[in-house]
Symmetry: C2
Subunit: 134 residues, 2 copies
Amino acid sequence: MEKYKQFGFKLTPQRLAILNYFNGNKEHPSADDIYRAVSKSFPTMSFATVYNTLEALRNKGNVLELTIDPNKKRYDPNTMPHHHLICVKCKRIIDIHKEFSVSVSEDMTQGFDLIGNHIEFYGVCPKCKSIALS
Amino acid sequence: MEKYKQFGFKLTPQRLAILNYFNGNKEHPSADDIYRAVSKSFPTMSFATVYNTLEALRNKGNVLELTIDPNKKRYDPNTMPHHHLICVKCKRIIDIHKEFSVSVSEDMTQGFDLIGNHIEFYGVCPKCKSIALS
DNA sequence: CTCTTGACAAGAATAATTCTAATGTTATAA
DNA sequence: TTATAACATTAGAATTATTCTTGTCAAGAG
C-alpha cells in the first residue's frame, strides 16, 4: 500500500530518524546539527538527505527555516506561530509563545499584501551573562 | 592632520564611494550589490574592501547587518530603530517606521536580559502581485 | 627621507548549501 | 514472482557567500 501517499512523503528510516530528532526539539538545529545527530544511528547519512528531507518537510509546512543566524540556516519543527529570543553571544534561540498586536497602517505597507510577521527579541542568556562576569 | 581620528576611520575614495552609495539608500543592498555599484567608479574595487568597510561601519554602528535573506547578508544604512516588511517572492525589503509595544513577561524570557527586538513583516509586493496575475 | 600604520587588491581558503550521477529500495502491475 | 516505475539515498563535485592571507601601496609623523 502506498501508505505515504497520505503525506506525499515516503517514510524512510533516515527520514524517521530526522523526524525523531525533531520531535519535541526546542534547539532550532542547523543542517549540520541534524546531520551529526542522525549520523550516529545512520553512519552513511549524507547532507543531501538532510537537505532533501528538510525541503520536503518545509514544503509540507512541517518545519520552518529560520534566517536568524547570520552563518547558517536553522530549522524549527514547531510550526505553531511564535516568536524567538536570541542570545546575541552564543546564538541560542528560545521560543516566545505570545500574541502581539502589531498592526500596520496601509500607508506604511506601500501596497504590499501582508501575510504574517515574526518578532526577534535580542538578549543575553543566563549562561553568557555568567561567563561575562568571570 | 589625522583627520580620520575623529571617526577612527580613514576616509579613502573607496570608502567614500561606498558611503555615497549608502547615502539615502533604502534598498538594503547585499555585499554583491555594493561591489557592483561601486565597481563602476572603482574598477579595481575588491570584495575584501567591501567587506572590510562594512565591518568597520558596523563596528562604528553606522550600518546594520540584516539576516533576513536566507541566501546572503543585507546591509541597512538606516540605523534608526525600525522594522522591515519583506516580499516573500522577490525579497524586496521596505522599512516600517513605527514603535510597537511588545513587552514580554519574565517567565517567558528564561533569565535572558533583553536588549531589543526587531519585527519582520512578510507580504507580497505590488510588482509580484501583478506578475502572479499574468 | 624613512618609518609606521592602516588600506587595498588579488586570489586562496573556508563553510554552507545545492547539484549531479549512479545506485538502491519499494510497491504495485503484469 | 518478477519487472518496472517512482522515488530515495549516497558520495562527491560544484556553487555561492564570506573570510583570510599576503604583498603592495599611500599618507602622515618624526
